[in-house]
């Protein structure tokens, strides 16, 4: 994958060159959202390619959100909430985790590249962790390149 990109580098394919990863993050209000706030108040600089969608709890996250995000051209999806046991709502994040495990196979079966879905925990006190996580994810998605397979899949199934 990386070598593929290397080859295209020299070519004047404008869109390829300008491609910037698009990542949608579903985060819970109490932990990760506040963690990202902390990264801000601490002025920790990180990559600008992530768009956060705030939800009350990771328990609210539906697998269809993830599919929808890819459908809308996301190259990567992040899901982040409270640490297990610290859930603001007792157990919401456990449910999210369990459900996520169940959908993993389904997503994979549908042709999603699971390397593009990143599940993690960031607490309200972990501003640095949020910044590191974003950088790591952006790096990873950059390496994987644009998520064209999904569009291809869509095109195929439309046939």
């Amino acid at each position: 994958m990386v070598s593929d990109e290397m080859e295209t580098e020299g070519k004047p394919a404008l869109s390829e060159k300008e491609w910037q990863p698009k990542i949608i993050a579903f985060v819970c209000n109490w932990c990760t959202y506040a963690g990202a706030d902390l990264a801000g108040t601490s002025r920790i600089v990180y990559e600008p390619h992530v768009r956060v969608i705030k939800l009350p709890c990771t328990g609210r996250i539906d697998v269809s959100f993830i599919i929808k995000a890819f459908e809308q051209g996301a190259d990567g999806v992040m899901v982040s909430g409270c640490h297990p046991g610290d859930c603001h709502y007792t157990a919401g994040n456990y449910h999210a985790r369990r459900r996520f495990a169940g959908f993993r196979d389904l997503l994979e079966f549908c042709g999603f590249d699971m390397r593009r879905v990143i599940f993690s925990w960031v607490s309200a006190a972990e501003g640095k962790k949020w910044a590191d996580l974003v950088n790591e994810v952006v790096g990873k998605i950059r390496e994987l390149g644009p998520f064209k397979e999904y569009q291809n899949l869509l095109a195929q199934s439309a046939l």
Partner: protein
């Protein structure tokens, strides 16, 4: 259709430095449905807020997006502002372009792009926002306290002192709990009954407290501020209103050899009995499992001797229904069994300590009874087998505790202290006796606790031996304790006349079932779970239910009392207003599409969803659906994600809103 206003804040230079606010305002203005889009230096300032208010009136806005700092910072500010222009606060949203954007990015162009995206997301969301109204629920200002140990007593007294009614339910015939069984208490060695009895009496006397003893809570329904409870008053067979506690009945009862629960089997009681002389209430109950009248329809002596005619063999259990606004659970603890029978199948007991076989191997509470002036030996330390005064006593710490193989993993926290106390008190009573303590670690982390332990060692000559005991066997009329002292790498065997096992503090046998009954969570061992281990230690996850005392974790008396007072103050706090106002971020079921798969009911962490019957006009059941109780729903949204038919939606975060947000990011 939509008439949205976008207000972009520079936050001085904080945002404007990295985000091109003018461009942002321009781009935002182009978004469909946006009527007005302006930028300003300080949106949260008075002129800024006025700008918003004016725009709402001028442009007849039906939605506002403020692109500024984090909603955690100023959402309340802006929502309050729009309310002043007559807009519903939930039609105002914030796009976080400071904490999540300007402060963390350096590339002005990319940051501006991101800011535009963030505004677009919020514009799309706010278009789909609905007016929401805070939920108000009235509060019944009466509390239920379950368990009449020191924790329950303290909580009841405190709540009553705050001017509220309290119902106190105690399972035993008397309040007092385990503290009533103790002799003297560490670290001050004050007499347990002397400090407890006045409070027990007070509980019975306080007109605001209704006391039900020999009673149990059967059912709890409802939610914070509005619980409905059912209490089973077991038949006492004695009319407490008539009885004056003269004692003629129990003095004459022929069934005299029933092992006394209060004395932990070391003493006896009659079939009609009060558990101990200072009992509150001081009226007896008949234990029907042992009474001849009930077993064989014979005797009837008590009824004959009772000059007041208080005995009523026909009495039936009674169900008392009550409405309460808050519940304090203070059901206390039990001890790990030293017999072969264990309340929990994972607990194996100690065959090597010869449970059940040797009478002179007893537990800590039994030793308390031997030390207690009101105990079966009037406070003389005499061993159970032959009544001899033991000349050497071995105390064994951590029995069942810290032992994942045979018992439980945790440390029971109080035994280190009471073991030291026992050894000390024994020495005070038997001057020529020798106490030995086998221990693993000494955990004495409380005010004056370490000093207390050192006193036992240095002044009272208690010999501490560091090692877990391997076995106890009988040799002649003595017990041989086979132990080790790891400090000297030696095996140590001592001959003791009496062995006292400091058995673990464990939850009640049916703690789990009880937790389920009242709708609170408990850990794997059965101690009830607090809402947050540090910051909400007296609340449960269920709003309106609080914890006090050893039912939450092993605790000594000062901790139990502190927690009880804290729980009481939480109750007062709840009762300080007449109505409960809650954010309207709650789930709601669409009854038309709900297929009653009950997924939502299963996943809701707050048990806020229940079954609902849908009936026709004639009262015939048509079908079942799920129903969210607004008073209990905390708005986590777990049910929404779990519903296969998309029939339950969370106000403020419904599928339409979230999908619109995702779609808003879907442009190229």
């Amino acid at each position: 259709m939509s008439r949205i206003g976008v207000f972009i804040c520079h936050c001085g230079e904080n945002i404007a430095r990295t985000v091109d606010c003018a461009r942002l305002a321009e781009e935002s203005g182009k978004l469909p449905g946006v009527m007005v889009s302006v930028d300003y230096k300080y949106m949260c300032s008075d002129p800024g807020q006025n700008m918003i208010k004016r725009a709402i009136a001028e442009h007849k806005l039906d939605g506002v997006v403020v692109a500024a700092c984090s909603p955690h910072m100023h959402e309340p500010t802006f929502r309050a502002a729009v309310v002043q222009s007559g807009m519903n606060p939930y039609l105002c949203e914030m796009a976080n372009i400071r904490e999540h954007c300007s402060w963390v990015h350096t590339d002005r162009e990319l940051a501006t792009e991101k800011a535009i995206d963030l505004v677009r997301v919020m514009v799309e969301k706010v278009k789909r926002n609905q007016e929401l109204f805070p939920i108000r629920v009235p509060i019944t200002k009466r509390a239920l306290v379950i368990g009449g140990g020191i924790a329950g007593i303290q909580a009841a007294l405190d709540i009553a002192a705050g001017g509220h009614e309290v119902i106190l339910v105690e399972r035993q015939p008397s309040v007092g709990g385990n503290m009533a069984r103790l002799s003297e208490t560490f670290p001050t060695l004050d007499c347990s009954q002397c400090i407890l009895t006045p409070r027990m009496v007070e509980v019975a006397r306080d007109p605001r407290i209704t006391l039900y003893t020999y009673a149990e809570v059967e059912e709890v329904e409802g939610f914070v501020g509005n619980f409905k409870v059912k209490i089973r008053q077991k038949a006492k067979s004695v009319n407490a209103d008539i009885c004056n506690g003269c004692g003629d009945c129990w003095n004459k009862c022929p069934m005299k050899k029933i092992p006394s629960e209060f004395d932990a089997g070391l003493g006896y009681r009659t079939a009609i009995y009060v558990p101990f002389p200072q009992a509150v209430p001081n009226t007896p109950v008949i234990d029907r499992e042992h009474c001849l009248k009930f077993l064989k329809d014979k005797c009837g002596v008590c009824a004959k001797v009772c000059t007041r005619g208080a005995i009523d063999y026909e009495m039936q259990d009674e169900i008392i229904e009550a409405e309460v606004g808050a519940i304090v659970v203070a059901t206390g603890y039990d001890l790990y069994g030293i017999g072969k029978e264990q309340p929990n199948e994972r607990w194996k007991g100690y065959g090597e300590y010869n449970y059940d076989t040797y009478k002179d191997v007893i537990n800590g509470i039994q030793f308390e009874r031997l030390l207690s002036a009101s105990g079966p030996t009037q406070g003389e330390v005499r061993r159970p087998s032959d009544g001899k005064v033991p000349k050497s006593v071995a105390f064994i710490a951590c029995v069942g505790s810290r032992d994942p193989e045979k018992g439980i993993e945790y440390c029971s926290k109080i035994c280190c202290m009471y073991v030291a106390k026992h050894a000390m008190l024994y020495k005070h009573k038997v001057h020529d006796g020798q106490p030995y303590i086998f221990y693993m670690d000494i955990r004495a982390g409380g005010k004056n606790y370490e000093e207390f332990v050192r006193r036992a060692v240095e002044e009272d000559g208690v010999l501490y031996i560091r090692g877990r005991v391997s076995k106890i066997y009988k040799d002649g009329d003595q017990l041989v304790v086979v132990g080790a002292d790891t400090l000297s790498d030696s095996q140590v065997q001592i001959r003791a006349d009496l062995v006292v096992l400091a058995t673990a503090m464990v939850p009640h046998k049916n703690a789990y079932e009880f937790a389920q009954k009242i709708g609170i969570a408990c850990g794997s061992e059965g101690f009830y779970s607090e809402a947050h281990p540090k910051l909400r230690p007296v609340e449960t996850m269920t709003a309106g239910i609080y914890l006090a005392g050893a039912c939450q974790a092993p605790k000594d008396i000062p901790d139990a009392v502190a927690q009880a007072s804290a729980a009481a103050s939480k109750v007062q706090l709840l009762f300080s207003s007449d109505e409960l106002e809650r954010e309207p971020i709650v789930a709601k079921v669409n009854e038309v599409t709900c297929v009653h798969c009950r997924n939502c009911i299963r996943v809701c962490p707050y048990s806020a969803i229940d079954d609902k019957e849908i009936r026709d006009r004639h009262g015939n059941l048509i079908r079942m659906v799920a129903e969210v109780n607004e008073g209990m729903c905390m708005g986590c949204g777990t049910c929404v994600a779990a519903c296969p038919s998309k029939s339950v939606q969370l106000a403020g975060f419904n599928d339409e809103q979230v999908f619109a947000e995702i779609l808003a990011l879907g442009h190229e």
